[in-house]
């Protein structure tokens, strides 16, 4: 599994766009990039997954440059309820549905009123 590096913590004011960047220099050809969100005392929640370029869903956008050695999770106009830990993970997307998830420490996002 490729190692990932992301900031330990970030602060943002309500209404701002938040970008969390993750480095994964050793990403393999088959690897996908996945982001999870975890609120205190709750299970991790899948946010978004991508392989290259840009992926957008109703929650976030994921930007992946051509070399795929990093990725940026973008949360538009955050609210207090977006305060959580965000995990960047890299893993084999060609595993037929098997996806053992190896979590790091994640980025603790604190949204300030």
């Amino acid at each position: 599994l490729a190692k990932t590096t992301q900031p330990i913590s970030m602060d943002s004011y309500e209404g701002q766009e938040v970008n969390i960047t993750c480095s994964h220099n050793n990403i393999a050809t088959n690897d996908y990039i996945t982001w999870y969100q975890q609120f205190p005392s709750q299970g991790p929640r899948f946010i978004i997954q991508g392989y290259k370029t840009k992926v957008t869903n109703e929650v976030a956008s994921l930007f992946i440059p051509a070399d795929r050695k990093s990725s940026t999770l973008s949360l538009p106009r955050v609210s207090l309820s977006d305060t959580a830990v965000y995990y960047c993970l890299v893993g084999d997307g060609n595993s037929g549905g098997y996806q053992k998830v190896t979590f790091g420490i994640g980025t603790k996002l604190q949204v300030i009123p």
Binding site: Y32, Q38, S41, Q42, G43, P44, R45, F46, Q49, G91, G93, S95, G96, G97, Y98, Q99, K100, V101, T102, F103, G104, I105
Partner: protein, 112 residues
């Protein structure tokens, strides 16, 4: 939206007792997992389960632990002879054919 459900939400037990944590994965998912998170630490992989057998397990998942899919919907984690250090949040998860993994809300296990 389909979800993974876990029961109970909180389990209190005495050291040395056996506990069974229960999970109902999303119905059309193929892979099932158990993870745990000790307070203030990372989420750790315990075991994965596919086609009625363990497909992968971590070094944490020793003989004290076992998993079972007793029927078509439930997936259980049994911890025999619980120890104080087993106190943690235990998360069940399941993944679909795309590998998107969904986690349950967790069971908080408190070993006294």
């Amino acid at each position: 939206e389909p979800e993974v459900t876990q029961t109970p939400s909180h389990q209190v037990t005495q050291m040395g007792q056996e506990v069974i944590l229960r999970c109902v994965p999303i119905s059309n998912h193929l892979y099932f997992y158990w993870y745990r998170q000790i307070l203030g630490q990372k989420v750790e992989f315990l075991v994965s389960f596919y086609n009625n057998e363990i497909s992968e397990k971590s070094e944490i998942f020793d003989d004290q632990f076992s998993v079972e899919r007793p029927d078509g919907s439930n997936f259980t984690l049994k911890i025999r002879s619980t120890k104080l250090e087993d106190s943690a949040m235990y998360f069940c998860a399941s993944s679909d054919y795309r590998g998107e993994t969904y986690f349950g809300a967790g069971t908080r296990l408190s070993v006294l």
